[in-house]
């Protein structure tokens, strides 16, 4: 399973960081960084993050 964030859409609302902190984080410049291939255990949180994103910038590719 893969995660992709369209960084041209992302406005660093950090709602994804709240929903899945083990996958999404903000770096020192407040830019979003993320793990594109999180483990299965993180998947429910990642789906929640995708729904929480205010600009729908998170795209998920199932297995």
């Amino acid at each position: 399973m893969r995660v992709r964030v369209d960084l041209t859409l992302c406005q660093t609302h950090a709602q994804c960081v709240f929903a899945a902190p083990e996958v999404f984080a903000l770096d020192d410049d407040d830019e979003l960084v993320y793990d594109a291939t999180p483990g299965d255990a993180s998947w429910p949180a990642v789906e929640q993050a995708a729904r929480a994103c205010p600009v729908q910038a998170i795209f998920l590719d199932g297995d």
Binding site: Q11, T12, H13, A14, Q15, V17, F18, A19, P21, A25, L26, D28, D30, P44, E47, Q48, R51, A52, P54, Q56
Partner: protein
Amino acid sequence: MRRVAIAGAGLAGLTAAQELRRLGHDGEISMIGAERHRPYRRPPLSKEYLLDDTTDVALAGTDELSATWLLGHPATGLDLAGRRVRRGALPPVPFDALVIATGVRARTLPGAGELRGVVTLRGLDDALALRAALAGRPRVVVAGAGFLGSEVAATLRALDLPVTLVEPDSVPLRRPLGEQVGAIVAGLHRAHGVDLRLGRRVAGVTGAGRVERVHLDDGTALPADLLVVALGAEPETEWLRGCGLRLDHGVVVDHLGLAAPRVAAAGDVARRPSALLGGELVRVEHHGNALEQGAQAARALLGVAAPFDPVPSFWCHLYGHRLQSVGFTGAGYDLRLVTREPDGRFFAEYHRDGRLVGAVTAGFVRRLTACRRLLDEESRQPPMPPSGPSSMTGPPGTTSQGATGPVATR
């Protein structure tokens, strides 16, 4: 549990349905919705949707649900013992389990409903009507400088429309964010050309068939073509009156999200105990909360829920600044403005009994995520008192904030 009925086809209802499917529920799901639309995102309606008619607000994943969509007619009653949702003259919907997710309705201005050009903003149809009205470049009065009113004012200024913003309180957003943060927002409005009238309320509207003048309580008459009423919202519980569930400024649920056995409530309409606030009942009108409570409702109905106490969080767009919060904020807490920069960025914390309960920022997002982590940990700490739907009042002394307690409203 074969048949699940979901009353309210909004964000919380959809999320509950999706989580039910994800957890393997393969029985019937009936989505009962008052609006004719499938679930959509409301946050853009006061922001980009008013500026750009290509904005897509649809929520994904409604086709994959294989749900029965009963849209365009509201639920009108709940027969708890008979396990049926009534829908006026239409056939009732029988269920084994129910999710109540009917959200809130916009408060209206008493006596102004008859005139054209007086609008509220809650749903997609409201936003369509408002957007159409903006094409005529109206002079606009916005009643109420809460999140919605402030955001609408900011969006309309981006269209360069003349906007007067009327707020009875001393500053915008004083109750949800406190005096000092409200003062920052007041400065933003003024800097962007909003005619801000503080300490004033809209007393009436006059005009021949449509609004021509908006009257304030000090006698001022403002010429106007459009009045946007943004005076907050009321939980949509009228249809539940007398059904036997505990209604108290929302549908009261326990720490699992249940209002009764196999009846859950989620989203703007639900009022739940918060461990972070010592068990006090809270109702949160935020997008993220509808997601979290919606998923929790599904787990609760399937009997796999753990007690939960999600930390609220919202965002709000004002003139290119983004206000974001985590936790509980408001005039009732001890506000500490930690940082304030000349470019408009700031960071403020809210404490209760010396304990951090929330924070709000424009610009310091990473710091906010750190705060959020802290609150997450804290909300897990205090052991929850054993509680069922019958014992859900907070411990004595925690309801001192007034009848409704904290309501994180928009």
